[in-house]
Amino acid sequence: MEIIKSETHFNFVAMMKMAAIASLVYILIGIGSIFWHGGLNFGIDFAGGTLIQIRFSGETSVEKLRQVFKSIGLENSIIQEFGPHEMVVRIPVTNVDLKGLSGQVENALQGAYGQGATEIRRLESVGPKVGRDLTRKALLAIIFSWIGILVYVGFRFEFRYALGGIIALIHDVLVTIGTLSLLNKEFDLNIVAAMLTIIGYSINDTIVIFDRIRENTRKNMKMPLMDVINLSVNQTLSRTILTSFTVLIVLVVLFFFGGSVIHDFAFTLLVGCLAGVYSTVFIASPIVLAFERIRPSRMKGKK
């Protein structure tokens, strides 16, 4: 069966201007929202602090738990419900010694709810020093992956293709970060991993189209690049949509069934993959075209 007709003739290049404007507007809104929120909502991995996930055997309320934390001098903790009978407490960086913190919390919980009525399921504490290290490493990972891809694609194709690919990737990352900021989602190490996965996935998509453009340029030397790009994007359209569809199926499953810890990770991947498919079609190839107008390729000149 075929969902996508074999001979589509969408004029993607004509839509490029609109797409570029739409992307730019969305990215600006995203950046605006980052400023509006006074920066990204960094999780403890980057900002430092403590996260405690507690499961209760009975009913409880955020208010009651807040009182418990107040009693041990942690009144500025942020408490959130986290699925049935579970709460997550976020404690900003304090001077409280990490050696004693978990014991203190455990004692306070036992005092308020009784022995065995609560269970600390997860406790993560990151000091400010480690937070800075992790931030640096995360940034390096993203930037070096861009450089690595730039070099490989530049080597396999041409430099302007590599540039088109990288700009599409930067687009995907900015769109994803902007969306996370708009929804005020927490930004932690898992999100960075998701971001790097998006980079890997989106470039994968882009390369498939570049590959077809390369093939078609060799086949039709006289065809203008604009038409070659349109032809190539249309030829690979069914594949682009099919693969994205299977990946999206999987991500939706992860989003709903993957569990609380993986929830935001799956969400980020979902946003990123959609952005990736979009940028592959509307951003990456038009940039190659834009560079062609500035400086025609040597490949074409040779005939």
Binding site: M1, E2, I3, S6, Q53, K99, S102, G103, E106, E119, I120, R121, R122, L123, E124, S125, V126, G127, K129, V130, L134, K137, L140, A141, F144, S145, G148, I149, Y152, L189, N190, V192, A193, L196, T197, I199, G200, Y201, I203, N204, I207, D211, R212, R239, L242, T243, T246, V247, L248, I249, V250, L251, V253, L254, F257, G258, G259, V261, I262, L269
Partner: protein
């Protein structure tokens, strides 16, 4: 691609069988005896976030070890100067890593510098000035020695913590240095994280110090602490109110004996009250020292100080020989046991600070595994159904490749002893979605070729050949991203990078080699006019 169909089939079969071999121990808990002996028996290693456990990053405050050495040197130096009758005033540790001393005239300064050169090569004069005839000299430790102390402090801390953890009884702990002054500790399956933390983080510096009974404690508490003395507290639980109270002591600053002199420490139950205490046994030199110290100080009080806190300060009734002592206090059994462990393992040369802690309870880990399995199954079924729906018989071929892909991925993880983490499971689920991509590329290409009027066999040939470069290029770029994820990632993220990397490589193998074998087998020597794609 390489060789005949037969050769390729055998190659693929061998690869799959090897993967299954490595997977068997993970799938079943009871291995037959012959398997245990000769064949791989490691299960897939689960990360701390899946099996539960504690991850700690400690920082060794090595500068504190330098300060402590300097402190000891200053006590030593004081005695040496007095022995040599060199006049001095106010020899004390000023800033963190400097000593300052005042000498009344230039003659004593010459003598001071001479003895410094002769007996204290580690110390160097940082600055010297003369104010109203008084020579003020400030001393510091030279860089080389400081570096030595730092390095030694890290090495010793590592060794001591290893000893403590071993004695605590945790299976497969991982304790490794990280960076310049950090220690990474992973304790899988730990039940009482708070206790483990106090066991690991305790400096456990045991000191025996004399109580200064010549000076008034009250005056010292008001602020005039006599030269060379310190104030330390004993924590007691008031039996009436149940509140803890602090009892102050005025102690002589010099430690008469430290934990270094211990040979053993054990938990004993005292006969009278059934309370646990820790019995200490000194080594030969320590026993001799203890005998001499107690002999010289009969009727005085000797305080037992652990990490700056007084545990007890009994009066010395008589000279104690035999090298035995005990630490009493209101311990619970666990506390006494842990104290004995840390005393046996020795003190940390410098205090440690916890920089990062991640603890996952076993129940959350189990939930994560269950959810991971469910997500994989649901995602797998959906993708498999979609491929059959869209590509018919060819879809089944792609599905076979998908299932093999998962088997090979898990097998490779077991074989390479890679760690499976929660993001790693997400990576596997994602692989399900991406694994079919290579086949989608090939099938779409084949369909295009069929439309141009090629025979099925020629179309498949062209489909595979033309899609190959595309698949290679697109996957290598994804690999580049995965490698950086591995290089810069920490903990669970690294686990994700591992599954992603293996997943990409394996999916290229199954999608290109294995499916081709299946197609070739069905088309071999047959004249077929159409294929189901």
């Amino acid at each position: 691609m390489f060789g005949s169909l037969k050769v390729r089939s055998i190659f693929a079969l061998v690869v799959i069988l090897v993967a299954v071999f490595y997977l068997v121990p993970t799938m079943t808990s009871e291995l037959p005896e012959f398997w245990e002996k000769k064949l791989p028996k490691d299960k897939i290693h689960l990360g701390l976030d899946l099996q539960g456990g504690m991850h700690l990053v400690l920082e060794v405050e090595a500068d504190k070890a330098i300060e402590a050495t300097l402190e000891r040197t200053s006590v030593d130096l004081k005695e040496a100067l007095m022995d040599k009758r060199i006049r001095f005033r106010r020899l004390e540790r000023t800033a963190n890593q400097t000593l300052s001393v005042e000498l009344p005239d230039s003659a004593s300064r010459m003598a001071f510098e001479k003895s410094l050169r002769e007996s204290y090569p580690d110390l160097e004069i940082l600055s010297a000035e003369t104010v109203e005839g008084v020579e003020r000299v400030s001393l510091g430790m030279n860089e080389k020695r400081k570096e030595e102390i730092r390095k030694l402090a890290i090495e010793q801390s590592l060794e001591t913590i290893r000893n403590r953890v071993d004695q605590f009884g945790i299976t497969e702990p991982e304790i490794v240095p990280q960076g310049k002054d950090r220690i990474l500790i992973q304790l899988p399956g730990i039940k009482d994280p708070a206790r483990a933390k106090s066991l690991i983080g305790k400096t456990a510096l045991l000191e025996f110090k004399l109580v200064d009974e010549e000076h008034s404690l009250e005056e010292a508490l008001r602020g005039s602490v006599p030269e060379g003395d310190i104030i330390a507290y004993e924590r007691k639980i008031d039996p009436m109110s149940g509140k803890s109270v602090e009892v102050p002591y005025l102690l002589k600053g010099k430690a008469m004996l430290t934990g270094d002199a211990l040979e053993n420490a054990q938990v004993k139950i005292s006969d009278r009250f059934g309370e646990p205490h820790v019995a200490l046994k000194f080594n030969a030199r320590g026993a001799a020292d203890f005998e001499r110290i107690t002999g010289e100080n009969v009727k005085k009080r000797l305080a037992i100080v652990l990490d700056g806190i007084v545990h007890s300060a009994p009066v010395i009734q008589e000279k104690i020989s035999g090298g035995q002592a005990q630490i009493t206090g209101s311990f619970t059994m666990d506390e006494a046991r842990d104290l004995a462990i840390v005393l046996r393992a020795g003190a940390l040369p410098a205090p440690v600070k916890i920089l990062e802690e991640r603890t996952v309870g076993p129940s959350l880990g189990k939930d994560s595994i269950d959810m991971g399995i469910w997500s994989s199954v649901i995602a797998g079924i959906l993708v498999i159904a979609f491929m059959i729906f869209y590509y018919r018989l060819s879809g089944i071929v792609a599905d076979i490749a998908l299932v093999l892909n998962l088997i090979l991925l898990m097998g490779a993880m077991a074989a390479f002893k890679a760690t499976l983490t929660l993001p790693g499971i997400a990576g596997i689920v994602l692989t399900i979605g991406m694994a079919v991509d290579a086949n989608v590329l090939i099938f779409e290409r084949t369909r295009e070729e069929l439309r141009t009027g090629k025979t099925p066999r020629a179309a498949i040939d062209a489909g595979y050949n033309k899609a190959f470069l595309t698949i290679l290029d697109s996957n290598v770029t994804t690999l580049v991203a995965a490698l950086f994820l591995f290089g810069f990632g920490t903990g669970p993220i690294k686990g994700f990078a591992v599954t992603l990397t293996i997943g990409i490589i394996v999916s290229m193998f199954t999608a290109i080699v294995v499916t081709r074998i299946i197609f070739d087998y069905f088309i071999w020597n047959r004249k077929i006019s159409s294929i189901s794609i």
